[in-house]
Symmetry: C2
């Protein structure tokens, strides 16, 4: 049985192997993704983003556990160097995650988040496709929320959950203006801390002041204490409601097309680098790089030269 | 006088106009960068990165003010949605920045940090090139440090300064493993807070345990209270020492080539998207996107199809 067949039949080792393959990239990975792509499109893809220290991973683990209890299968992709899924988990999370990792209805994968820009985003999209093809009902993608990460996640997910914490001060206020644009759900985690009510009010005010598209969905602002699994049920309910909203409003097709366009762009960018690597001798590449470094040629002219050569 | 000439002669309005042009991209931007590229290579490019709330912008402002007092000119590029340079500054920073912005030896530019992945990184590289060509001695690039941002900055800068704060807990510890790989200088800011000594010790221990390349530079761990301009002199001295080290060890050429290769990759990726946009009718692109969204074609096959068509 080939890898694609094994993955489709629910073989976890095949899935793990396929994930490693797509993370590396290359022709085999492309062939695999090509043969599996028609089997994607079933999962509810949920992005979870927030600054370091907001408790993303704990919340993701609690959400996953809740969905498991309702019989749904859950795939988790952590694209975050600070994630306990990725490294050095704190004890509580480790226990939570061990419970998840012993469960055949859960699959956890952390992506190396250090590496070439774009490559990670492309690999994350591919990993989502594999988990989707493997039949997971819910796919949770955890990314650190600061700068590009959160824009990426919104472009990959159907539903984006943005996590804040109480009273994180001025910096957080600055973040929010941008975050409102991508949040489908806002969660104030660690809500047992002082200032939670104020943060909730603040977020609601910002939402009411912002000119969000009046397309029928106002991001709910929810509270949680993920370490004690408090507030998880409401978040799950809101995420499911958001999917219903997307489908009933016809916005789901739009999101799928945005996702497709985003993927196509990333893959075009990866593919051109792969083609250059395959067709341009290393020595020519290195010469060109040295010429840029010594200001003999500008990088735009160098790029044009490479592309013209490949297209000749 | 054309834009490039005006920029080279120190005209600030020309610089501002050129920065807007390269942020947008396109043939005019390419031509401008092409004509200015030979004038780059003089500046010391310094990346400053750290999680939201570590006081990056305040530190950047204090560093800039210090360099100004020693007669050096300073360009600042803020690639950070949470940066006070970008929006909503807190009062103290606003005053600091106003002092800088009234000074002809300082130029501050914030880049919109929301937008297509890769595009921002490419635009940041271009902005650095423009400030370099315009003759600024020091170019400070502030990015939010979490995930990709810091990898990017290390690929763009000669010297990378990573900022931590005391006792930021488990998450920070998790970050550090990755951060050590890119830090040329480590700064514990807000060092008047409890736990600063411990954080410094912790970072030094991590440095001694990590297998950093034994190429002669051990990242110093410094302390600062940026709001009171404490510790700034040592940071400036260490950054200058690092540049001396790069030059004397011969590693400077290597860094310049890494920078060149990074730029070339980003620009290749941008260029291929531009060429596709220019040569593929919008309706064909939209059809392809719709076919991906409905799983009729996988995005890898679609990308190959587009590239083959352009190369035919």
């Amino acid at each position: 049985m080939d890898l694609a067949q094994a993955l489709l039949s629910g073989n976890r080792r095949a899935l793990a192997q396929a994930l490693t393959l797509v993370e590396t990239g290359g022709p085999q990975a492309r062939a695999l993704l090509g043969s599996l792509f028609a089997h994607t499109g079933r999962a509810h893809i949920i992005g979870v983003t927030g600054a370091p220290g907001t408790g993303k991973s704990t919340l993701v683990a609690a959400l996953a556990a809740h969905w498991r209890r309702t019989g749904r299968t859950v795939g988790i992709i952590a694209v975050d160097p600070t994630s306990p899924f990725t490294r050095g988990a704190i004890l509580g999370d480790r226990i939570r995650m061990r419970a998840l990792s012993g469960d055949p209805g859960t699959f956890i994968r952390s992506m190396a988040s250090r590496g070439r820009l774009g490559g990670i985003a492309r690999a994350t999209g591919d990993a989502v496709a594999l988990l989707d093809a493997a039949g997971f009902d819910i796919i949770l993608v955890e990314t650190v929320g600061a700068g590009q990460g959160e824009v990426e996640i919104a472009a990959t997910a159907h539903t984006t959950i943005v996590i804040e914490t109480p009273g994180a001060g001025d910096d957080v206020q600055a973040i929010k203006a941008g975050i409102l644009e991508i949040a489908d759900l806002l969660v104030v985690n660690k809500a047992d801390r002082e200032g939670a009510d104020q943060t909730v009010r603040h977020l609601r005010t910002m939402l009411s002041l912002s000119d969000l598209p009046a397309d029928g969905w106002t991001p709910p602002v929810l509270t949680a204490v993920a370490t004690r699994s408090e507030g998880i049920e409401s978040i799950v309910a809101a995420a499911e409601q958001h999917l219903v909203y997307l489908r009933e409003s016809g916005r789901f097709v739009g999101r799928e097309q945005e996702r497709a366009e985003h993927e196509l762009r990333l893959i075009l960018q990866e593919t051109v680098l792969e083609r250059v690597r395959a067709r341009v001798p290393v020595s020519d590449w290195e010469t060109l790089v040295a010429q840029i470094a010594s200001r003999m040629i500008d990088p735009y002219a160098a790029a044009d030269q490479l592309l013209d050569r490949m297209m000749a």
